[in-house]
C-alpha cells in the first residue's frame, strides 16, 4: 500500500482538490439537499391529499353489505322441522376489482368459465357495461359444494390463483321444506323475496322474518374508517300444533281417496276438543312447498300446455287455497246437534220430548220441505231425531226455539263469523241475520242448509259440544321461540265463551254415540272404540243439479284428551259415492283407526283389535259390502221442493 501511494505521489506531485472544485462540489451537495428537501415537501403534500387517503381506505373497505338473517324454522309439535333455512351462496362479480389489472381480468374470467361454464362473451359484456359497479350477481343459490368447486379450483392454480380477483360469494339462506308436500296448506311457502305466502309462513311472517344485519364502514371527521356491524337478528321459530305423523297418516288416506275416486274438495281436520289445538289439517292434494309453482301432481304436461296464463294462475291459487279455512259451504245435517243444543239450553224443549214426523213440513208459498224419510219417521224421541237425522222434528224444534234464540246460538258457535284461527284467508261464511230468519229460513237452517260455514267453524263449535260447553279458539301454532330455543310467546288455549251447559253436552254426546252405534253413523264404528258423531249430506245449490257434499263429524273421548275428527267430501267424482255419507265415514274410520293409538287412545280388548281391524278395513273399503243401512243414507238427502 505504501509503495503504491508513494509512487502516485511521486508522479502526480500531491494533486489535491482545488478551491474551485470544492465550491462546485458544494453546489452538487446543495442540489442534492434541495432535491431531498423538495421531496420532503412532496411527501407532506401527498399526505394531505384526501383522495389518496380515501383510495387507501376504499381498497380495504367494503361497500355497505347486508348480513342475511335466518328465517325462523317451523316445527311440528314434536320438534320435527317442517321448514328451515339452508345456507346458500350467490356468486358475485366485482367488475371494478376484476378490471384493475389485465392479469386479474384474464385469470378471473378463465376461472369462471372453467368452473361454471360461463360464456366468455357474456362475461366480457358484463365487465364492459357494468365496469363502475362492484356488485353483479352471476349465479344464485349455489350449494356449498358448488361454491367450493370454485375455491378449490383457484387454490389448485397456485400462484396464478392470486390473480383471480373480484369474485366472491355472498351468503344467504334458502327456505327448505324437508317433508316437501307434508302439511303444505298449513305451512305455506316463501316467495323469492323471502315473504311468506299462505299458511303459517304468511300468518306469522313478521315473527319468522327476522331482521337482516348490516356491515358498513364509514369515514369519520378525521377520515378514519369506522367499522360498524349490526348483527342480524334471526327470525323466531314457530312450533306448530300439527303433528307430522298424524298429518302424514291423514295425507296417505286422502291421497288414496283422491286417486281412487276423486272429489272437487276434500277436507280433514283433527283437533283436540279441550284446547283448540289442531293436530292435522288437510285439504285436497298437497303440493311441494319447495316448488310451489309445480302443478305436475294435479295436471299432466299436456293439460298445462293447453291452459292460458290466467287459467294457470287460477289453478295455482286453487292449489294453494286451504279448503278447511277458506271455503264456506252448507254444512248439512251435522248442524242438527247444534239446533237441539240451543233448544235444550234455553229450555224450549226437554230431553224427553217426543216428535211426530210425517215426512215433511209445509210452509207458506206452497213450499214443502221433505224429511230424509219421505214416509216419515213417525213418533220419535229427541235422541232418535238426531240418530235418524229427522228433518221434520228439527224443523219443529227450530220453530219452538224461534229466530232470536237460533241466531243467538249461531253467534255463540261462531257460525257466520271467523273463528280467529291463526291461518290466513279465513272465510266467515254467511248466516241469516235475525230479521232474515223467517219461517222457511229458520226451518232449513235447523238442519244445516241455507247458511254456510267453514270446516274450522264446524269443528271448533263441535269441540265445545263435546268438552262441556267451552269454546276454544282454534289455533295452529303452539309456541313461538327465539332461535336459541327460549320461548318468546306461548299460545295458551283461548276460551272465547261458554256455549252450552254440562248436562246438555252430556245428552248430546249420548245421542251422538247412539247415532254411530245404531243410527245413521254406523259406518263410522271402529272396533274397540266408543265413537260418537253425526253424518251430513247436503245438497248443493242449485238443488236440482244433484250435487252433494257429504261429511262426518266425529269424536272419541279418552283419558287424556278428546279428539274431534271432521271429514268433508265435496262432490265426489264417483257418482255411487257422491251422495252417500258412508264415503266420509269410511275415510273417518281409516284415519281414526291409525291416529287414535298414536294419540294414546287405545282400543278396548287390544288383543282382538288387530284381527278385527283387518276385517273392519276390508268391509269399509269394499263398496259392495254395506255395514250401514242404505235407507239412512238415502234419507240423509234433504230435498227442498217447491
Amino acid at each position: 500500500m505504501d509503495e503504491a501511494g508513494s509512487r502516485t505521489r511521486k508522479t502526480k506531485k500531491e494533486k489535491k482538490i482545488t478551491a474551485k472544485m470544492q465550491i462546485k462540489l458544494l453546489v452538487v451537495f446543495c442540489v442534492f439537499l434541495a432535491a431531498l428537501i423538495g421531496l420532503i415537501a412532496r411527501v407532506v403534500y401527498i399526505s394531505n391529499q384526501d383522495k389518496y387517503k380515501k383510495g387507501a381506505l376504499e381498497l380495504r373497505s367494503y361497500v355497505t353489505s347486508e348480513i342475511p338473517c335466518k328465517r325462523g324454522d317451523i316445527l311440528d309439535r314434536n320438534g320435527n322441522i317442517l321448514a328451515t333455512g339452508e345456507i346458500v351462496y350467490n356468486l358475485i362479480l366485482d367488475p371494478k376489482v376484476a378490471l384493475d389489472r389485465t392479469a386479474y381480468t384474464e385469470a378471473s374470467l378463465t376461472a369462471l368459465e372453467t368452473v361454471y361454464g360461463f360464456d366468455d362473451a357474456y362475461l366480457r359484456n358484463i365487465l364492459a357495461t357494468r365496469s363502475d359497479s362492484s356488485y353483479v350477481i352471476l349465479k344464485k343459490e349455489l350449494t356449498y359444494s358448488e361454491k367450493s368447486a370454485f375455491t378449490d379450483h383457484v387454490a389448485s392454480l397456485g400462484k396464478e390463483g392470486n390473480n383471480v380477483k373480484g369474485i366472491w360469494f355472498e351468503e344467504g339462506y334458502k327456505r327448505v321444506y324437508p317433508y316437501r308436500t307434508l302439511a303444505s296448506h298449513v305451512i305455506g311457502f316463501t316467495d323469492a323475496d323471502g315473504e311468506g305466502s299462505y299458511g303459517i309462513e304468511q300468518y306469522y311472517n313478521d315473527v319468522l322474518k327476522g331482521t337482516n344485519g348490516r356491515n358498513y364502514g364509514y369515514y369519520d371527521g378525521t377520515l378514519n374508517i369506522v367499522d360498524t356491524v349490526k348483527e342480524p337478528v334471526d327470525g323466531d321459530t314457530c312450533v306448530s300444533t300439527i303433528d307430522a305423523n298424524i298429518q302424514r297418516i291423514i295425507e296417505s288416506y286422502t291421497d288414496r281417496f283422491l286417486n281412487e275416486y276423486g272429489a272437487e274438495n276434500l277436507g280433514v281436520i283433527v283437533m283436540d276438543a279441550n284446547s283448540g289445538e289442531i293436530f292435522g289439517m288437510q285439504s285436497n292434494y298437497s303440493y311441494d312447498l319447495n316448488e310451489p309453482r309445480n302443478m305436475s301432481r294435479l295436471y299432466t304436461p299436456e293439460q298445462l300446455a293447453l291452459m292460458s296464463d290466467e287459467q294457470q294462475a287460477a289453478a295455482l291459487y286453487d292449489m294453494w287455497r286451504n279448503f278447511c279455512v277458506s271455503d264456506a259451504y252448507e254444512p248439512g245435517s251435522i248442524y242438527k246437534p247444534f239446533t237441539v243444543a240451543a233448544a235444550l239450553e234455553e229450555a224450549c224443549i226437554t230431553k224427553d220430548s217426543m216428535w211426530d214426523c210425517d215426512g215433511g213440513e209445509d210452509f207458506p208459498g206452497d213450499v214443502r220441505i221433505k224429511c230424509s224419510n219421505k214416509k216419515g219417521h213417525g213418533h220419535i224421541s229427541l235422541v232418535q231425531s238426531i240418530m235418524y237425522s229427522c228433518n221434520d222434528a228439527l224443523m219443529q224444534v227450530a220453530r219452538i226455539e224461534g229466530r232470536d234464540i237460533f241466531a243467538n246460538y249461531q253467534k255463540k258457535f261462531c257460525i257466520g263469523s271467523t273463528t280467529g284461527i291463526d291461518l290466513p284467508g279465513e272465510a266467515a261464511g254467511q248466516s241469516f241475520s235475525v230479521s232474515e230468519l223467517n219461517e222457511t229460513e229458520l226451518a232449513t237452517s235447523s238442519f244445516g242448509q241455507g247458511f254456510t260455514a267453514t270446516m274450522v267453524q264446524m269443528a271448533s263449535a263441535f269441540c265445545s259440544l263435546i268438552n262441556g260447553g267451552t269454546y276454544y279458539e282454534p289455533h295452529i301454532v303452539r309456541r313461538i321461540q327465539s332461535s336459541d330455543g327460549t320461548t318468546v310467546k306461548k299460545n295458551e288455549p283461548v276460551v272465547v265463551g261458554k256455549t252450552i251447559s254440562e248436562s246438555t253436552g252430556a245428552f248430546l254426546k249420548d245421542s251422538l254415540y247412539l247415532t254411530v252405534s245404531g243410527g245413521t253413523g254406523t259406518g263410522a264404528k271402529i272396533n274397540g272404540y266408543l265413537i260418537g258423531g253425526k253424518t251430513g249430506t247436503s245438497q248443493k245449490l242449485p238443488r236440482d243439479a244433484e250435487k252433494y257434499l257429504v261429511s262426518f263429524l266425529g269424536f272419541v273421548e279418552g283419558e287424556e284428551m278428546d279428539v274431534v275428527i271432521y271429514i268433508v267430501v265435496d262432490e265426489c267424482h264417483d257418482s255411487a259415492k257422491a251422495s252417500r255419507c258412508a264415503t266420509a265415514m269410511s275415510l273417518f274410520t281409516d284415519i281414526a283407526e291409525d291416529i287414535l293409538p298414536y294419540l294414546r287412545l287405545y282400543p278396548e280388548g287390544e288383543i282382538n283389535y288387530k284381527l278385527k281391524s283387518v276385517d273392519e278395513k276390508q268391509t269399509v273399503t269394499d263398496p259392495s259390502n254395506t255395514i250401514y243401512d242404505p235407507a239412512y243414507d238415502e234419507g240423509e238427502v234433504n230435498v227442498i221442493s217447491r
Binding site: 502516485t8 502526480k12 489535491k16 462546485k24 462540489l25 421531496l39 401527498i46 383510495g55 387507501a56
Partner: protein, 393 residues
C-alpha cells in the same frame, strides 16, 4: 466515535496538537460515516422485515425469508466494507505487480464482460434482462458493479488529466471511455444508465473549470432522456401514461397504491409494522416501493428522518471528499456521493410520483443483495480515503 472525528475542523486541531507523532493517525478514520452507514443498514433491515414479512409468508411460508437473505448480504457487505476501508484506495489505479496492468482496467474489462454476458444468459424479470442467475447464491445484478466501475474509472481519468477536463474535448474523451459501459446498461435498464450518466457527469462537472458547458449539457441530457422516454417504445410509453394519469391509468397502479400508503400515514404514521398497504396492496413493497410503506408506518416525521439520514450521509462523504489527501481520493468520494444521492433522490421521486416510474432502489434500505454489498464496498472506499487523510502536509 470520538468528538474529533465528527468534524474535519476538529481534525485540524488534533492534527496540530499531535504534530510530533506519525503523520497517519487512526483518528482520521471516519467513524461517524461508519456508524451512520451501519445505522442505515440496520434500519433498512428493520423496514425490510416489516414490509416483506407478509409477502414472504404468502410466498414462502416464512416471514423472515427476505430478512434472512438480506441480513446475510449485509454481513458480507459490512465485512467487505471494513476490509476495503483498510486497503489503500490508490491501489485501484496502480499497476498490478504481476501483469503490469492497472486494476481499474481489469475492473472495466470485467464490467464489459458481465454486461455482455447478461444479455445472453440473463434472467428475464419484468421484461428486461438484468440479472445473472448464479446457482445456490441467487441472482446477481452486473449493473451494480458497473456503478463502482464508473466511479473509479471516471475518477481515474479526471485524476490523471484534470486540466483536460477544462476543455470540452477532454470531457468528450472521457465520455468515449464511458460510453460502452453506459450503453450496455442502457439497453436493458434505462434508469440505471441514468444513474451511471449522473455519476459520470457530476465527477466531470466538479473537476472541470467550466460551468456553463455542463449546465447546457445537463439540459441537453435531460431533453434526450425525456425524448427517449416519451418516444420510447413499449412499456416506457405506458409508464409515462401512468405518471401523468396516476389516479386512473392502470399502468400507474403501483405508484397509486404507493401514494395511498404515503397519505394514509399522516404526520406520525400508524406505527412500525402497522402498515396495511403492505398486505399485498403495494406491489414490491419491500423493494422499490419501500419508502411509501415507511411513510405509512412512521408518517411524515419518519420520512423526514430517513431523508435527513441520507443528507447526513452525503454530507459526511462530502467532508471526506473535501479533506482527502489527494485528488483521486476526493473524486472517488464525489462519485460515491453522487451515486447515493442520485439513487435516493430518484427513488423517493418515483415513489412520490414526481418523476415517471423507474426501477431504482433506495440505497441501503430496499431489498437487493448485490446493491447492498456493493454500496457498502463504496462506503469502504470512502472510509479508506478518510483513513488516508494526512494530518500535516
Amino acid at each position: 466515535m470520538s468528538f474529533q472525528d465528527e468534524n474535519p475542523q476538529q481534525n485540524e486541531e488534533v492534527k496540530t496538537a499531535e504534530a510530533p507523532k506519525r503523520r497517519r493517525s487512526y483518528r482520521t478514520y471516519d467513524y461517524g460515516l461508519l456508524i451512520l452507514t451501519l445505522f442505515l443498514v440496520g434500519l433498512g433491515l428493520v423496514f425490510l422485515y416489516s414490509t416483506s414479512s407478509y409477502t414472504a409468508t404468502q410466498k414462502f411460508g416464512n416471514a423472515a425469508f427476505y430478512l434472512k437473505r438480506q441480513g446475510n448480504y449485509a454481513l458480507i457487505g459490512i465485512i467487505a466494507m471494513l476490509i476495503i476501508s483498510h486497503i489503500d484506495y490508490k491501489i485501484y489505479i496502480a499497476k498490478l505487480t504481476v501483469f503490469r496492468i492497472r486494476a481499474v482496467y481489469v475492473l472495466y474489462a470485467l464490467c464489459i464482460f458481465l454486461q455482455v454476458i447478461v444479455l445472453f444468459v440473463g434472467e428475464e424479470i419484468y421484461g428486461a434482462k438484468r440479472w445473472i442467475e448464479i446457482p445456490k447464491i441467487g441472482s446477481f445484478q452486473p449493473s451494480e458493479v458497473t456503478k463502482i466501475c464508473i466511479i473509479v474509472f471516471t475518477a481515474f481519468i479526471a485524476y490523471t488529466a484534470p486540466k483536460k477536463m477544462n476543455r470540452i474535448g477532454g470531457f468528450i474523451r472521457a465520455g468515449v471511455y464511458m460510453a460502452p459501459l453506459i450503453l450496455l446498461v442502457a439497453k436493458e435498464d434505462l434508469s440505471t444508465s441514468v444513474v451511471l450518466l449522473g455519476i459520470f457527469f457530476i465527477i466531470c462537472f466538479v473537476t472541470s473549470r467550466k460551468t456553463w458547458y455542463f449546465i447546457a449539457m445537463a439540459l441537453l441530457a435531460c431533453g434526450a432522456v425525456a425524448a427517449y422516454i416519451f418516444l420510447g417504445e413499449g412499456f416506457r410509453g405506458e409508464r409515462i401514461e401512468g405518471w401523468l394519469n396516476v389516479d386512473t391509468a392502470s399502468a400507474g397502479y403501483q405508484i397509486r397504491r404507493g401514494l395511498y400508503a404515503i397519505s394514509s400515514g399522516g404526520l406520525t404514521g400508524k406505527g412500525l409494522g402497522e402498515s396495511s398497504m403492505k398486505l399485498g396492496y403495494v406491489p414490491e413493497s419491500h423493494n422499490d416501493m419501500i419508502f411509501s410503506i415507511i411513510c405509512e408506518e412512521l408518517g411524515i416525521v419518519g420520512a423526514i428522518c430517513i431523508i435527513l439520514l441520507f443528507v447526513l450521509l452525503i454530507w459526511r462523504i462530502y467532508t471526506v471528499a473535501i479533506n482527502a489527501s489527494d485528488l483521486f481520493g476526493s473524486l472517488l468520494c464525489i462519485g460515491v456521493m453522487a451515486h447515493i444521492g442520485i439513487q435516493a433522490v430518484m427513488n423517493i421521486a418515483v415513489v412520490t410520483n414526481t418523476i415517471p416510474a423507474t426501477g431504482i432502489a433506495l440505497p441501503f434500505i430496499s431489498y437487493g443483495g448485490t446493491s447492498l454489498v456493493l454500496l457498502l464496498c463504496e462506503i469502504g472506499m470512502v472510509l479508506s480515503v478518510s483513513y488516508h487523510i494526512k494530518n500535516v502536509d
